[in-house]
């Protein structure tokens, strides 16, 4: 693989095209700083860092899935269920468990398990990722409701809660963990063959197959990775909110996909990288933050986000490459 399709695309886009999302983020920040000076304060900066996690981790997972040309709609169910697993294992009001930080591993394995199930359904039964992950999302949500009877499981383990609400100096622990995950993901994507395979499959699965890539194995790997990341996000979310609750991650699917799109990852697959997800999640978080700072009516906020998303897709997709729009 001397020249991948991705590299060809990169050359065609040029500097501006390649960095459009970063430029937009910078312009947005400059604009908000002018409109409301409170935007550019340390206080608000750390507020934004706090809000970037754990959503950033699910956006990252979604980024890998999108780059591979699939979609994952099981986010909310798997994050919610993993969060509930965490809440049942640390000190809580509902049982006598006290596994502390060790329970994070159980969350990772819960997420990994359902992620692998997503991939397995996709490859073994040829169910499109859209349907398979939607189904798994419903199953995990159902299990979450069943085991909690719909009640939040309140946790009382204050040392575990530090991974969600603690601070090192002024920097939120959850943000540091999120950045750690991003670094590992960046390494995986840029420095290993796995990252290249993901983009190759997303770009054109048939060609990737011809090149001798074990497409199924890579896809299962992508969904498994995404699931494990959801599991980790679930643990952080529970620590942050102080309870395991199946309703806690509602909205994460839209926000994860939205972040990726805002960052410039094509939902048609084959294009994108880890820093783009980071740019995307910051853009979405700052947009929400900015709308409150500017006092934009809550009645129109969601509409504004929708319009920006459509505009972003319109501007960033290289339509010449796509012959059929599904």
């Amino acid at each position: 693989m001397s020249v991948t399709r991705v590299e060809v695309r990169k050359r065609k886009f040029g500097f501006l095209g390649e960095n459009a999302s970063l430029i937009a983020l910078v312009l947005l920040s400059v604009f908000l700083s002018i409109v409301n000076p409170r935007f550019f304060t340390l206080d608000n900066l750390f507020n934004i860092l706090d809000l970037v996690s754990p959503l950033g981790i699910t956006a990252l997972a979604m980024g890998f899935v999108l780059m591979a040309g699939s979609i994952d709609l099981s986010v909310e169910g798997v994050v919610g269920l993993s969060g509930i697993v965490a809440s049942f294992l640390v000190k809580n009001f509902s049982n006598q468990n006290d596994f502390g930080f060790f329970s994070i591993f159980f969350c990772l394995f819960t997420g990994l398990g359902f992620g692998l199930l997503n991939g397995f359904l996709l490859y073994r039964f040829k169910i499109p990722s859209f349907m398979a992950t939607l189904g798994v999302g419903f199953i995990t949500t159902g299990v979450g409701i069943l085991v909690t009877r719909g009640n939040p499981i309140v946790i009382t383990d204050w040392s575990f809660r530090q991974i969600g609400m603690g601070k090192v100096g002024v920097v939120p622990v959850a943000f540091i963990l999120t950045m750690g995950v991003f670094f590992l993901a960046w390494f995986l994507s840029e420095r290993t063959v796995f990252g290249r395979y993901v983009l190759a499959i997303g770009g054109d699965e048939a060609i990737a197959r011809d090149l001798g890539i074990n497409v199924n194995r890579v896809k299962i790997g992508v969904f498994g990775l995404a699931g494990a990341l959801y599991g980790f996000a679930g643990a952080i979310l529970t620590a942050k909110l102080g309870s395991g609750d199946i309703n806690a991650p509602i909205g994460f699917t839209f926000d994860s996909i939205g972040s990726c799109v805002l960052g410039g990852i094509a939902i048609t697959g084959g294009m994108g990288n880890v820093p783009k997800v980071l740019i995307g999640i910051f853009t979405l978080t700052i947009l929400r933050n900015g709308m409150i700072l500017m006092g934009i009516s809550p009645y129109v906020q969601q509409g504004v986000i929708g319009m920006i998303l459509i505009a972003t897709v319109a501007l960033t997709i290289d339509r010449k490459k796509i012959k059929i729009m599904k």
Binding site: V154, M165, I292
Partner: protein, 347 residues
């Protein structure tokens, strides 16, 4: 001596006739139709029904029907109990959906079974058009919004900047609670509403919105929320900034997490509709109608469809609430039918 014997004889006779007639009367079944026993709200509801059944001496005839979210199952279960009791039954029902109330009413009207409904009913359906639909009872969302707002404003001395979280925009409970909040806002000229957002009833969303609001307005003195899930999210956002307990929060619903927060001084107010009372009183009123203690046709319109008083929980009565409702169960006078009557729904 003879006189005394006559009196004793008469007493015995009355007693005998009385007990014989009591034996002759078939016991009435008590039917409670609710969503499920899996949530604490409906579990308390069922417990209330049990408490009433015990008081009325009908413990063995108390039947709880759970529909688990299925309207069809609810109607079928009700029909089955009517058949089993040969129509000798009264019902207290939380209709699964508004429209179900009509189907249930038509069925029970046909069978001449007295019943009472809570919460869900289409607005344009009149209870007074039915002979056996004794009452429809709901709770005052406006009062909940208003009362919690007042406690919150008083907690910060009636002046300062306040932030508010609405429920899902367009949802009727959200609109009504917000109207109550706005009414209180008018009564406190020194309270400034710096902003509000829609938290969609969700904890995580409330966390993010309150975090952003605190960045925009660091001098927020209090946060009003339209429900407890959002209130607990607001408290976590405040905790992340070391403000939990310093900036008071209010909610509605009385979920266990919120009760703890009020005990800890992190929240100042919430509202409970008192599910024990709902479960017991619903049956009590329906049974009274069947026995003729309440004459349904003589009830005015505003007692056929009415709003019941809910319990405002603040730090003043939190100990009483926990003792009676969390650790124990309260005592009720099941014959005081109109004790919590506030006003007719259409007033």
């Amino acid at each position: 001596m003879r006189k005394i014997l006559v009196v004793v004889g008469l007493c015995l006779l009355v007693g005998l006739v009385g007990s014989v007639s009591a034996f002759a009367e078939e016991p009435v079944y008590l039917g409670t139709a609710i969503r499920s026993l899996a949530n604490p709200y409906h579990a308390a509801w069922a417990k209330g029904a049990e408490m009433f059944a015990e008081w009325a001496g009908l413990k063995d005839y108390n039947v709880i029907l759970t529909c688990e979210g299925s309207s069809e199952k609810q109607l079928n279960d009700i029909k089955a109990l009517v058949a089993r009791s040969k129509g000798n039954v009264v019902f207290c029902i939380d209709p699964n959906q508004s429209t179900d109330a009509v189907a249930i009413a038509n069925e029970l009207e046909k069978e001449k079974v007295y019943f009472l409904t809570f919460w869900n009913k289409p607005d344009d359906v009149k209870v007074s058009d039915y002979k056996y639909w004794v009452c429809h009872v709901t709770f005052d969302n406006r009062a909940s919004g208003y009362n919690t707002a007042k406690v919150l404003f008083d907690a910060i001395g009636g002046k300062g900047k306040v932030f508010a979280l609405q429920g899902l925009l367009g949802n009727s409970a959200a609109i009504e609670r917000w109207e109550g909040f706005e009414k209180a806002l008018k009564e406190y000229p020194d309270i400034e509403l710096v902003g509000w957002e829609a938290g969609d009833w969700l904890k995580t969303k409330a966390y993010n919105l309150v975090s952003n609001a605190l960045a925009a307005y660091p001098d927020i003195k209090a946060v009003w929320c339209a429900n407890d899930a959002m209130a607990t999210g607001a408290i976590e956002a405040l905790r992340a900034r070391g403000l939990a307990g310093k900036v008071p929060v209010s909610g509605v619903d009385a979920i266990p997490e919120m009760i703890t927060a009020i005990q800890n001084g992190e929240a100042v107010a919430t509202v409970s509709s008192d599910a024990y009372w709902q479960g017991g009183m619903g049956l009590s009123i329906a049974l009274a109608a069947k026995k003729g203690d309440i004459k349904v046709e003589e009830l005015p319109e505003n007692k056929r469809e009415w709003i019941a008083k809910s319990i405002l929980i603040t730090k003043e009565n939190i100990d009483w609430y926990v003792k009676n409702y969390v650790e124990g169960t309260p005592q009720y006078d099941w014959t005081n039918y109109w004790e919590r009557w506030v006003r007719g729904i259409r007033e």
